[in-house]
Amino acid sequence: MTVRGDTALELGAAIASGGTTSVAAVTEYLAAIDAREADIHAFNLVHAERALESAAMVDRRLAAGEKLGPLAGVPIALKDNMCTRGIPTTCSSKILKGWEPPYDATVVERLTAAGVVSVGKTNLDEFAMGSSTENSAFGPTRNPHDLSRVPGGSSGGSAAVVAAGFAPLALGSDTGGSIRQPAALCGVVGLKPTYGSVSRYGLIAFASSLDQIGPFSNDVADSAALFDLIAGHDPRDSTSIPKPHVPCLPAIGRGVEGMRVGLIKELMGDGEIEGFQPEVIAQTKAAAAALEAAGAIIEEVSVPSVVYGLSAYYLIAPAEASSNLARYDGVRYGQRVEGPSTAAMHTASRTAGFGPEVKRRIMLGTYALSAGYYDAVYGKAMRVRTLIIDDFARAYEKVDLLLSPTSPCVAFPIGDVADPLTMYLNDVCTIPSNLAGHPAISVPFGTGEADLPVGVQLLGPLLSEPTMFAAAAVLEAAAPSTKSAEVRA
């Protein structure tokens, strides 16, 4: 019997009921990886033996009667910026080559406790800085829908894993759209949770006040189940929300009857922000119509300050990154290039270890924080965050959720976007949620140019994930069919 047609929840149920085993499931997925990974390069590392050992352990635990939850035994892939004890964790950077963390990230601990089986570490833009996964020191990941195109980024490897059927689940991290944009470009579901709902302990920091771990899956309910598993207070993360997590899985199927959903006026391609493909706009409108047909009330809502989001983000994120990435100095771990003094060793190690995009952002961030510019640059950008939060708050007085495209365009050809600024424009719809700390989910909704997947994004206020999942499930059910299932096969 084949397990790869099942959703993660179906597979989990089958394993729990003895219909199949975790070892069988993992074996089947490893075979799929074997067959196509050379073409796609979704992984930095597949640890097949370890995965099979873990699967066998889960099978034994289940056989012994242990209750492990709905995803026990199901394979998952982890973005390679989450620390896994004894397993290389690289951030797709040469500077961390060979580093084996001596500890597990909190999400990894939670997955292990729940019996979810990691099969490997996925490729990303170096230190999660990018929107195409082309900035990996270990080569780009290819979009399973079209191998000549990017999967999006920075969590392109995790999105590709799910799209290619290498695992039914993956974790990514989202700082400015790094889960949602690749989810859209690969035709899968991706959630950026409320800031503070998933522990960042063990997630290698890019921009600390924006980073958030979240799930990828083919199915909305699977993302809800995985989010329910990893969310919740962690005393190791001072920014973790000290409240019990409200489960999202029960919200699936609640529908959108009477729900008010606003289309963000500024992100519909006819305003100040340009570059939206007409097919993407058309699918977003179709998604709105689908919600309306299911009983939601649709209106257009203005969130004027989102036009400043991109600029503010590209000052704040590099500023935090310039400090977060200072520790890669060749002293304690990772790559070292020897020199006659510590300072020389430090400069040489970093110059050789970081790729161009990382260097650009370090330079940008160093500038944004420097004494003469702090107030005009970084300080200002932090105030823009407040403007965006205030604008969203006004919008949420009128509506429950907002709707927009996830990405202005479908997956673009590898090597097509050479200019950094043009690349940054990919994140224009996703960045405002990170600046505000709000949750947002990308759901596949039909196709656009070249028959490639389009994703639409639902946005909500802090901790509105249950409402968001209810609406996402409606969109999923109403979405035009695509060739996604074929791609996974």
């Binding site: 964790t89 001596p102 960042r200 921009a207 520790r327």
Partner: protein
């Protein structure tokens, strides 16, 4: 400790700023020193500031470590509640305003700093605007006292052991992340002695509130001095140099004196010092230029996004204020209020004998005599456990003339050793005050034996008698083996001389 509370009004009555005696300028009349001190205190916690690794001095290298204080990728800091508690207590003891505060990253590269930034506080420190009063009564302003984390330690390995030769360094992160409170004074200190008094007073406060053991030799207390000079009486602030590597109070005094003199010499030869960090060279007895400041002064401070604000509630602050022990200044003032002079009070508190003195005074002992004993005769182990009532009895015997000062000192020493009652000891030693008739006979014999001295004594005015008076008293003491009461001898001498004239 059973000390009667002293009201705030009584305390302030003894804080007389204008009459404070200040250290005379060691630079002569033309120049004065302007000194500000920066003191790093390692807080006495079980774990580090942001990491659950152990905070312990002297462990095997890299054993008190944890992913957090190693700054490993992905780790996050969480504030140690105890470090905040101790920091607030110390802030309150320094009369600071305790306020909502923010942790900021101070970005710079150094191999013993695991994250290549230090979590510190910048524009919003925990404690602001306090003061510390020296035993002299002079108040030194406290600009701020903020929380931060310590660095690790690098040991240079090379042929000469000097920092600039080849070779290499070995880094130990046991100290990395240890909680520090950095206390920054206003430039209100005017000389090496005042600087030492500041650090000593600060140390006694730190130990009193239990914030740290205050050991300079183990680095629990580290002092940097910002030194400048200016023409005496002016209020300008000239270029200052920060003196580091001062590992003892003695070095602090020497380093400041040296550095101030260096500035004066530069100004007097038409030059000027430049702003820089300088290191105290203990062997050479001089400061040497360190890193020039201009290249790396931009630490790119910004609020640490991994941490949230610390905003102590008024109730919590008051709870901690109420838990503070009686601080050295207040202890001194309690003695002064009973008539002790400020120097004796400082010594008594320094020796932890103030409680004894107050209790003995409460038991009826004369405060002046009590303080004289505390100052002169009780710098011994076990003094603090003297029974206050017996101590008071001793003083009363002495004041009543039943014991001479010399006898009282001997009895007191016995009391410290044995804890017995002073009357019993005096009786055993055969101490009785001499009848004044008997004493007069002894004095007459001495006068008869020293006619020349006596003649001069009689002729002299009060000022001229000092030495001769000492001669006659000494002779009497010798003849009576110390059993004569010096006061009575003096009275007799005065009476006899007056009769002669």
């Amino acid at each position: 400790m059973s000390i009667n509370p002293v009201s705030a009004t009584t305390l302030s009555a003894y804080t007389v700023q204008s009459s404070v005696e200040r250290e005379p300028s060691a630079l002569g009349d033309a120049w004065e020193m302007v000194i500000g001190l920066e003191v790093h205190v390692e807080l006495d916690t079980v774990t580090k500031m942001f990491s659950p690794a152990r905070n312990e001095f002297g462990a095997v290298p890299n054993t008190n470590i944890h992913p957090v204080c190693l700054g490993l990728p992905g780790t996050l800091p969480v504030v140690n509640a105890k470090a905040v508690e101790l920091s607030i207590k110390l802030g309150l003891a320094l009369n600071c305003t305790v306020q909502r505060c923010v942790f900021a990253r101070k970005n710079y590269f150094y191999p013993d700093m695991p994250k290549d930034y230090q979590i510190s506080q910048y524009d919003q420190p925990l404690n602001a605007e306090g003061w510390l009063e020296l035993p002299s009564g002079h108040r030194v302003g406290i600009e701020r006292a903020h929380m931060e984390e310590d660095t690790g330690k690098s040991t240079h390995v090379g042929t000469s052991g000097r920092i600039h030769d080849a070779g290499y360094s070995l880094v130990d992160y046991n100290r990395a992340g240890v909680p520090l409170l950095e206390i920054v004074s206003r430039p209100d200190v005017r000389g090496p002695e005042e600087a030492k008094a500041f650090v000593e007073e600060l140390r006694s406060i730190i130990v009193a509130v239990g914030a740290s053991d205050g050991k300079m030799e183990e680095g629990s207390l580290r002092v940097d001095a910002n030194v400048s000079v200016r023409p005496a009486g002016s209020d300008e602030l000239r270029t200052r140099c920060e003196i580091k590597n001062v590992n003892s109070l003695r070095s602090l005094g020497r380093a400041i004196a040296y550095e101030a003199q260096r500035h004066v010499s530069l100004y007097e030869s038409g030059e000027a010092p430049r702003q820089e960090t300088r290191h105290w060279d203990e062997e050479g007895g001089r400061t040497v230029a360190g890193r020039a400041k201009e290249d790396s002064d931009d630490y790119r401070y910004f609020a640490d996004p991994d941490l949230v604000v610390v905003d102590p509630s008024p109730q919590y602050i008051e709870e901690l204020r109420a838990s503070l022990p009686v601080l050295p200044r207040e202890r001194r003032l309690r003695l002064i209020e009973r008539g002790a002079d400020s120097e004796a009070a400082a010594i008594a508190v320094g020796r932890d004998l103030d409680t004894l003195a107050l209790a003995a005074n409460d038991a009826g002992g004369d405060m002046g005599r009590i303080m004289t004993h505390v100052q002169n005769n009780l710098a011994v182990d076990g003094a603090a456990s003297l029974d206050p009532a017996k101590f008071a009895d001793l003083v009363t015997l002495e004041v009543g003339g039943a014991l001479t000062a010399t006898q009282a000192k001997q009895v007191l020493a016995d009391m410290v050793d044995t804890g017995r009652a002073p009357a019993d000891i005096a009786a055993e030693k055969g101490f009785e005050a001499m009848e004044s008739g008997e004493l007069e006979a002894v004095l007459d014999a001495i006068i008869a034996a020293s006619p020349a001295e006596w003649a001069r004594f009689v002729e002299a005015d009060a000022a001229g008698r000092g030495k001769l008076q000492g001669f006659f008293v000494g002779q009497v003491m010798k003849a009576t083996k110390g059993q004569a009461d010096g006061k009575v001898v003096n009275q007799l001498l005065g009476q006899k001389a007056a009769a002669k004239r």
